[in-house]
Symmetry: C2
DNA sequence: CTCGCTAGGTACCAAAGCGTACCGATTCTC
DNA sequence: GAGAATCGGTACGCTTTGGTACCTAGCGAG
């Protein structure tokens, strides 16, 4: 299971690999070998909207494997307090992979974007298993690089795409992982994720609505196309 | 040895961890245990300016450990042909770490930014050693996360910082790794790295020069402050 | 020395986005 | 049901940046 890319998106010039071709969408935890799973105290968690799972500059106690439908955002806060999203993680990834791979603190915050369930594993346990199970390690390392590629793409989009394009890309990324076309979020929240003004989001959503790409009610956006 | 961050930069609101506190600057290859080094066919290479070391969507044959003074840029090209830098690697990192960690192809191009020497190791060898030497693995994984954090920072800067701030950050990043205050590059080249117009770079450099932060001759910029 | 190429300085207009503000509409709370 | 809080629509002026273009200075080749 690899990270999103490719699949033409409207006429906006935004591309992202589709997840449509992925036969069965499940947490990567499910692809761990049984003997590895036995060594992990996996705990089911219900994650609420906007719940903070991890904080930048701290080391988390657990890492989370979102189940299909649950989406988590990784954000970074600047010196002046602005918060911007750098990447999102759904069932295809691991929230806290940074801490599994490296002994340092997290470089970003992790916030629940779309509520849902996740499996949670103590960080230390996963690190131990990753250390002596090559299969698990390969899966985690690959997941890490997939995320790195995602963040790289975000860096570029932030540079050369306009607001409407970035909004479209963001919505599709969430849609693929949330597995539904409606997401509950306010323009204000979106503006924080995209790092723009709230009013700018309102205008961009309005334009996309005129184009028939989305529709929206109060605090909800539905993707049509 | 950890990745750049923190250290106030002029009055531009740009921060980056300083490398000034790093006692001895050397390739991370030098921190590998001897028994690991013996298993690697390390080859010294002289890297020329603008040399392409790796291409996106391909799997490299070697990975490179730049020696102090040598700097490599990782860039990504968009669907419309625009090339933008997502991160830089110097003596503190590994060019091609993505391919060591994951079996997939590179997500970016690698281009020599400041010529110099680098040690080069066959990818397959390094993967093998990383697989059964925990120390090497830890070093590489940490280096990978450091790079991920760098790219995350790039994503944010691309969103909320203006051209002059991004230019300052870029110059400092290169300076730290190149270990000299003068770098040979044209405004045109810089504009590709930063993903802006060449004329925009000219103006930004001019303003920084007025502020006494840099000076420049033809195809060269010197950092003063 | 001259031609030609490359680097860089400058300018003008248009588009995108920001800061700010105001106000209406919906929802929540008591 | 009334007041408060939240959400979102809209507007205006300003800054940054992009697109484009033209011109000059330095450098190298013949």
């Amino acid at each position: 299971m690899s990270f999103p890319n490719v699949v033409a998106v409207h006429n906006l010039g935004v591309w992202e690999k589709g997840m449509a071709d992925i036969a069965r969408q499940q947490s990567i935890l499910d692809s761990f070998p049984p003997q590895a799973l036995r060594r992990l105290s996996i705990e089911e968690q219900s994650l609420a909207n906007h719940e903070a799972l991890m904080k930048a500059n701290e080391r988390p106690e657990w890492v989370y494997f979102p189940q299909p439908g649950c989406v988590v955002s990784l954000t970074r806060t600047t010196e002046v307090g602005t918060t911007v999203e750098v990447g999102i993680v759904g069932f295809e990834g691991v929230v806290g992979i940074q801490s599994v791979m490296s002994p340092g603190p997290m470089g970003s915050d992790a916030v629940v974007q779309v509520s849902g369930n996740a499996s949670r594993v103590p960080l230390s346990e996963l690190r131990a298993v990753s250390d002596d199970n090559a299969t698990v390690r390969e899966i985690l390392q690959t997941s890490c690089i997939d995320f790195l590629n995602q963040v790289s793409q975000t860096a570029i989009c932030n540079r050369i795409h306009n607001l409407e394009q970035r909004l479209a890309k963001w919505l599709l990324g969430v849609r693929d992982r949330a597995e539904r076309d409606s997401v509950d979020l306010t323009h204000d929240f979106l503006s924080n994720m995209l790092g723009v003004r709230r009013a700018g989001v309102t205008v961009a959503v309005g334009e996309m609505e005129l184009d028939g790409l989305v529709k929206h009610d109060r605090a909800r956006i539905t993707i049509l196309d």
